[in-house]
Amino acid sequence: MKTFSNIMLILIFAFLVSICIIEEFVVSNSLSQAMNDSLYIEKLLDEDNQLKSMTISLAVDDLEYHWIKNESKMCYLVNHKNIQEIGLEISKLKIYQKDDDLKEFEACLNAVKFYSQGYTHFMGASVHNVL
């Protein structure tokens, strides 16, 4: 029984350590990907002021695809309610692109960037978050 408890304790400890590492890895990767995709769209927008261009459309699709893929992974690790804003902003982004509304599109893009940066700060391990 004593050996069993010791083995279980080691396993639990290993589980906790691996969960912490996986969380850090998945969250930072997912958010940095969203950030990079948004920056890429911003760059494309600066180069070519046309919202309805094929390149921007593909970039927005990429942003959405990556986010959906990463969000499903993150749902195992973080509260779903805490990360849903990025998904909402990406959906709005697609609508404003269709409507060719540059101002709103830029506002949504900034929101995606803001949330990506904010979540990284909010979900990462830091003294602020611990206290």
């Binding site: 408890s5 279980m8 969960i19 749902c75 195992y76 690790l77 973080v78 509260n79 779903h80």
Partner: protein
């Protein structure tokens, strides 16, 4: 709803596992840090159960962290007496031969009623009967009665008695406990012979309880019958 059902099952199994691994102490025997852990665990378990947006891991990770913390604290308690006193406290004498220790009573935040309640619970209704009362670290009060109030034992009367024999349950609610049968070194065929001889037409499933002790005394009761005792039953 299915999500909540499945989450509840997962959390229940994990909490059960956590309590099993933490040991078999009952609520009343808990040290202060164990009680704190139990209360937190109970609260933690309900969050991912009811809130679907919260991942189950948010319940599991703190539970497991508390298990690790519990073992670390227990380890330190075993390692040093000072640490043990710091975490679990020390037993305190609240009644000594001079009477109630008022200072100790105030320090422990006890009232006279609490002491008398504990005394009455142990069968002592007067302070005259108590030599010492000690407040244990788990919150219970232990009492050492005065010599004249101590219950009479065979030892104090210098009476020689046979050693106590631990009864082993052989049949419980119609089911033979084979592990115990082996422990008592009994053969199953002899058990059936004994049952056929003593139970007339009663079937095995109608036996409520059958215990045997190492002196060979058998206690047998059927679900509808009265209890029977057999001395020196031959089941070997």
């Amino acid at each position: 709803m299915l999500t909540i059902v499945l989450r509840s099952i997962i959390i229940y199994l994990i909490v059960l596992f956590v309590f099993r691994i933490m040991g078999k102490r009952q609520l009343g025997q808990m040290q202060p840090f164990e009680l704190v852990l139990t209360l937190i665990i109970a609260d933690l378990a309900t969050i991912p159960m009811a809130e679907v947006s919260v991942p189950v891991l948010h319940g599991i990770v703190p539970l497991f962290t508390l298990v690790i913390l519990h073992f670390i604290l227990t380890f330190f308690c075993k390692l040093s007496l000072k640490m043990s006193a710091l975490i679990s406290g020390k037993p305190v004498i609240v009644i000594n031969p001079d009477g109630i220790d008022y200072k100790a009573m105030k320090k422990l935040n006890l009232t006279i009623d609490d002491i008398f309640e504990a005394m009455r619970g142990l069968g002592y209704f007067s302070l005259d009967q108590v030599e010492y009362a000690i407040m244990e670290t788990n919150g219970k009060i232990s009492i050492l009665p005065k010599a004249e109030s101590m219950p009479v034992t065979n030892d104090s009367m210098k009476i020689k008695v046979e050693p106590s024999a631990l009864p082993i349950t052989i049949i419980s609610e119609g089911k033979i406990i084979k592990e115990n049968l082996q422990l008592a070194n009994f053969e199953e065929k002899n058990l059936f012979k004994f049952l056929t001889k003593n139970l007339n037409k009663t079937k095995l499933k109608d036996v409520l309880i059958m215990t045997v002790d190492f002196n060979g005394q058998v206690f047998l009761q059927t679900k509808k019958g009265k209890r029977q005792t057999f001395e020196n039953a031959r089941l070997k």
